[in-house]
């Protein structure tokens, strides 16, 4: 079965640089979520999209933005990177219209800011 695809899997950036993370949800899933997970931490919700519209924002810094495109893939744009942005970034997708299903996580992008 198709899974959530994220790219790149690893990314190394310097402070103050920008980064773009991409996510391709499971086909026919209508909702995409972005999470940030620091070492030994629980995943923290950043932002979500339902049918290409932003549906909710969590603890996402103003330096970050995201969007979902017509083909349902999503991109997380991160600017003015800081050392504290180093983390695993997960994208998850779900089908939330009708019966509620679980969220299926992609393999994550490990971002290292030096």
């Amino acid at each position: 079965a198709a899974g959530v695809i994220q790219s790149p899997r690893h990314l190394i950036k310097e402070k103050r640089e920008t980064a773009t993370l991409k996510c391709y949800p499971i086909p026919r899933h209508d909702t995409v979520y972005w999470y940030q997970q620091g070492p030994g931490q629980d995943p923290q919700f950043l932002i979500s999209f339902y049918e290409k519209m932003q549906s909710d924002k969590g603890s996402i810094p103003d330096r970050f933005s995201a969007q979902q495109f017509s083909d349902y893939h999503s991109e997380l744009n991160m600017s003015s990177l800081e050392l504290g942005d180093s983390a695993l970034y997960f994208c998850a997708s779900s089908k939330t219209s009708g019966s509620r299903l679980g969220q299926y996580f992609g393999p994550g992008t490990r971002l290292t800011v030096t």
């Binding site: 909702t31 629980d42 919700f45 979500s48 549906s55 509620r100 679980g102 969220q103």
Partner: protein, 112 residues
């Protein structure tokens, strides 16, 4: 509001059972359970929506109490592959499209 998970960590021998709890101060719309191995993505185990609901997944099952404020994950006859960190993710009433707040996780180690 972040749900509270307990215990924080548990060590088992193969074949032993464990219970992981997840509680909230307010009634929840749903509870999701995930298992995450080090450096990997969280893997969805199950979702509970109804008060009093119980669900099973092979030797892993979960319950959601009538007031929808507590869920428990039951691991029976544990296997080495059960090792990992278990997270509950809770969805509040009035929240948007399944946005989850995760507990701090329970680290489960299964030894031979």
């Amino acid at each position: 509001q972040q749900p509270v998970q307990s215990p924080q960590a548990v060590i088992l021998r193969e074949g032993e059972d464990a219970v992981i709890n997840c509680s909230s101060s307010k009634a929840l719309y749903s509870v999701h359970w995930y298992r995450q191995k080090h450096g990997e993505a969280p893997v969805f185990l199950m979702i509970l929506l109804k008060g009093g609901e119980q669900k099973g997944h092979e030797k892993i099952s979960a319950s959601f109490n009538e007031k929808k404020q507590q869920s428990s994950l039951y691991l029976t006859a544990s296997q080495l592959s059960y090792s990992g960190t278990y997270f509950c993710g809770t969805e509040k009433y009035g929240g948007s499209q399944g946005n989850l707040i995760f507990g701090k996780g329970t680290k489960l180690s299964v030894k031979p």
